[in-house]
């Protein structure tokens, strides 16, 4: 691969990663703050990147800020808020076309880096806090985001399941917080939380693009002043404990198709084997779940698996008619038993390994995806590149796969049940 990757510690809990390949026509720059997910601060944290990504000290008006980006060849600055195990990740990200495509010879890359660092460290303020009007609009949007979590039934079902699977752990919380915490936010409390994050959160700065970001390291040091920061505590990986008894839960909504999620905890310490288990069970169109539950038995429209390695949880996610819920559940569990018993064909195994190898190589063609890969893994202390991880998965034996499957413990069965089977009412 022609991709060069380097991650450097700048001090004060700040890391800077550069992913470089001359083939990339666009550049991506991202500042990510990592902090413990807690119900008290989730809403405040989640609103912060949405405020920071809309203006900055030198462009305090959102309209002017946006006009400036539009004129910079439609460069984008956008916020992100996600969950990584028990942590909340907050990001301000930007993309721009490479300097070699500038029609008037502009230094687009340098300007993008300047803008994002200014957004994060020198936000637009009013009376020493976030401007009241902008803040109120963002608070309103956060409330809408919480209210509209129900719109996407599949992700809503996942969120409801997570609350049960991780009950009592930080990971159980929504990254948006609750309606109550969102409603209670003020410009002052959010600004104080922002100051805390800037001085105490882990900070990962990532560049991925086609041209070396000259001077970026100095700019980051100048913006964050690592020497003045309180060194944040290390990120702790805390697998979710296995429940003594599995839990069943359901919600009812007026939807046509039910969503069923089955969650399992795994005890296996063999991460490559768990990755392979996920692929063989339900992460490809030739997986056991797709082939049997969907194709052969027509029990679900979709039925796939995913794995949360930080919390050691495997999810099976399905869209199913109410009358087929029990049959689908039985078949999903039967397929897990098949893997435990070693009833995995050579072609199933090699298909899963080939799929892993292919998707590992594909990361290199997408700078943003590669940045995400390195971020997620470096947080967990893993420095392998996608191909090295793929090689470890490909070396997993059948016995290791069986052991990984045998380590699964049923945790939660969640059903988002439709009220009836009739369609929605047109007016």
């Amino acid at each position: 691969m022609s991709v060069q990757y380097e991650r450097k510690e700048l001090g004060g809990g700040i890391h800077f990663s550069v992913i470089l390949d001359k083939r990339y026509k666009t550049n991506f720059f991202s500042v990510r703050l990592i902090t413990k997910l807690s119900p008290e601060t989730a809403s405040a944290n989640s609103i912060i990147p949405s405020i920071l990504s809309k203006s900055c000290e030198s462009h305090p008006s959102q309209t002017e800020f946006n006009r400036m980006l539009t004129a910079l060849y439609g460069s984008t600055v956008y916020d992100g808020c996600g969950k990584l195990g028990d942590y909340q990740t907050l990001s301000v990200n930007g993309t721009a076309i490479g300097d070699r495509y500038a029609l008037e010879g502009e230094n687009i890359c340098g300007q993008l880096i300047d803008i994002i660092l200014e957004c994060v460290t020198r936000p637009a303020l009013e009376n020493g806090v976030f401007p009241e009007k902008e803040f109120e609009l963002k608070r309103r949007e956060l409330i809408d985001d919480i209210l509209t979590e129900i719109n996407d039934k599949r992700s809503y079902a996942f969120m409801q399941t997570s609350k049960i699977v991780y009950k009592g752990e930080p990971a159980a919380n929504s990254v948006n917080g609750t309606l109550e915490t969102a409603k209670s936010l003020t410009p002052k409390t959010v600004y104080e939380q922002y100051r805390r994050l800037i001085s105490e959160a882990q900070i990962e700065v990532i560049f991925a693009g086609g041209e070396y970001p000259e001077g970026a390291e100095e700019k980051i040091i100048g913006a964050f002043k690592p020497a003045d920061r309180k060194v944040p505590s290390d990120i702790i990986i805390a697998p979710s404990p296995v429940k003594h008894q599995s839990v069943s839960a359901e919600d009812e909504l007026d939807v046509v198709q039910c969503k069923m999620i089955l969650a399992y905890k795994f005890r296996s310490e063999n991460e490559p084997a768990v990755r392979l288990l996920n692929m063989v069970l339900g992460a490809t169109p030739v997986s056991k779940l797709f082939t049997n539950v969907r194709e052969k038995l027509s029990l679900c429209y979709y039925c796939s698996s995913s794995v949360n390695l930080m919390k050691k949880t495997l999810f099976v996610d399905s869209g199913v008619s109410l009358d087929k819920v029990e049959a689908a559940k039985a078949e999903i569990n039967r397929q897990i038993e098949e893997i435990k018993a070693g009833n995995v064909t050579e072609s199933e195994l090699s298909a899963a390994k080939l799929a892993i190898s292919n998707s590992a190589k594909a990361y290199y063609d997408y700078p943003k995806a590669l940045a995400g890969w390195y971020f997620n893994n470096s947080i967990r202390g893993i420095s392998d590149d996608p191909e090295e991880i793929a090689a470890k998965v490909c070396a997993v034996t059948m016995d290791e796969l069986k052991e990984a499957a045998a380590s699964l413990v049923p945790d939660t069965e969640y059903l988002l049940r439709g009220l009836d089977e009739s369609a929605g009412d047109d007016e």
Binding site: M1, S2, R23, Y24, K25, T26, Q62, T63, E64, N66, R67, T70, A71, L72, Y73, G74, S75, I97, G98, Y101, L103, K133, L137, R140, E141, I143, D144, L147, T148, I150, N151, K153, L179, D254, V255, V256, Q257, P285, V286, R294, E295, S298, Y301, G319, V320, S321, S347, A351, L354, A355, S357, N358, K361, A362, D365, Y366, A423, G424, D425, E427
Partner: protein, 434 residues
């Protein structure tokens, strides 16, 4: 069999070059060599989508009307191979295969890092080798019915689809791509073969490949696997669509918390290069009116009438052309009035010139970004060919576009031909919370 025509298409502005070949079997082959990339993306597509439900062959007297959703059903069924399901074949090469049906095309595709030529053989073979039986057609009905139900619960899809159903009287773009549970109940293997034979002939198809590939090996595989058939030119009817809207307002209640809206305007359809020009001009015009840097956006965002979900887009194709606005709002009727008012104001006073210039650069940036991966490059080639334009025309149209073009486009929007589609919450309580 082999290549009867070869054209090299290049663009100095972005420094890119691709090859367009015409195979003697009738197929157009487009290849974009991207030697530094790890993956290859290939699409094999036919100009046949959900709107092509009324057609005849040149020798036929009458049009045949087939059940809605049949193009999508056919796509599902082609994945059934007599010997071995397609996904299982791809599993042996490690390729990630998929397919999709849109309004006006059906495409079969794969991405891979290794074993590209073996995967290409699979793609070319199964798409040219239909295998429909009463049993396997019946079996798919349940799966597709589940997919239809999933769409029925999806408010993003419903709000858009309802807008189209309000806009068009007869044009089949108003019909959902997968059809309905009832319409797919009428699909038989005979109908599937009839549609396949009309639209899946190589003259109506294109193979588009981007990545680190060897042109000669692709041609060798095509020579070996392409089936020589007689050219078929199906004639489609989209009905006699009046220029009025069918229903100015469409409302539906779903499980959402905040009302969602789409507001669209019916414009006369345009095709070919002029169609692409109109599409891009309409995109930039709507953006000038209401992008985040506009006075319109600022005013109504500050008032809380719209939020950051607000967007503009253009939906155009064979016989339809619809610029539209969308987002969430507790007062969709007020958004509708505000948009109409802004359009009329800008018709009289003129669009903001500075925003036009900035958005032109922005659109150019988007076009460059579209060339940054093999998937986007292969898809761009396929779409361009099916639309009768070159993949680089978009970039040149943007470069040549003037402020006057955008103003003219704005003036062509007749605000009396508008449709407001609203998805309302089932529970009024949720919408008015806080």
């Amino acid at each position: 069999m082999s290549i009867v025509n070869k054209e090299i298409i290049s663009n100095e502005r972005c420094g890119e070059q691709l090859v367009k070949l015409r195979h003697s079997a009738g197929l157009t082959i487009m290849i974009w060599k991207m030697p530094d990339y790890s993956t290859v993306h290939a699409l094999f597509g036919t100009k046949y989508g959900s709107i092509n439900n009324t057609f005849k062959l040149p020798e036929d007297k009458d049009f045949t009307v087939v059940p809605n959703g049949i193009a999508h059903y056919l796509e599902h069924k082609l994945f059934e191979n007599e010997d071995c399901p397609v996904f299982e074949q791809y599993a042996k090469t490690g390729a990630s295969g998929n397919a999709y049906t849109s309004i006006d095309k059906t495409c079969y595709l794969f991405s891979c890092s290794d074993n590209f030529y073996e995967s290409l053989e699979i793609l070319l073979s199964f798409v040219q080798d239909p295998y429909f039986t009463d049993e396997n057609v019946e079996k798919e009905r349940g799966i597709i019915a589940q997919e239809i139900k999933m769409y029925e619960d999806n408010p993003d899809w419903r709000v858009f689809s309802n807008m189209l159903s309000g806009m068009y009287h007869t044009h089949p773009v108003k019909i959902d791509i997968p059809g309905t549970v009832e319409s797919i109940g009428e699909i038989t293997k005979e109908l599937l073969y009839q549609c396949y034979n009309a639209f899946y002939n190589l003259d109506n198809m294109v193979l588009s490949i981007a990545g680190n590939v060897d042109e000669d090996r692709i041609i060798e595989i095509c020579d070996r696997l392409l089936k020589d058939g007689r050219p078929v030119s199906p004639i489609c009817s989209f009905g006699d669509e009046p220029d009025t809207v069918a229903q100015p307002e469409v409302r539906q209640k779903l499980e959402v918390a905040v009302p969602m809206f789409n507001i669209g305007f019916k414009l006369p359809p345009v095709s070919g290069l002029e169609g692409l020009r109109a599409d891009i001009t309409a995109k930039i015009t709507l953006a000038v009116l209401a992008y985040e840097g506009s006075s319109f956006y600022r005013r109504y965002y500050d008032e809380g009438l719209i939020n950051s979900t607000f967007y503009t887009d253009v939906f155009s194709g064979d016989g339809f052309f619809c610029p539209y606005f969308g987002g969430e709002s507790r007062e969709p009727h007020r958004v509708f009035s505000a948009i109409i008012e802004e359009i009329e104001r800008c018709k009289a006073e003129g669009l903001d010139r500075e925003s036009f210039n900035a958005l032109k650069k922005s659109l150019y940036g988007s076009a460059i970004r579209e060339l940054d991966n093999v998937e986007a490059a292969a898809t761009l080639m396929l779409n361009s060919h099916m639309d009768g334009v070159s993949p680089f025309d978009q970039m040149e149209i943007i470069a040549d576009m003037t402020y006057e073009d955008a103003q003219k486009m704005l003036c062509s929007i007749d605000t009396s031909k508008a449709v407001l589609s609203i998805i309302e919450p089932k529970s009024e309580e949720e919408a008015s919370d806080e």
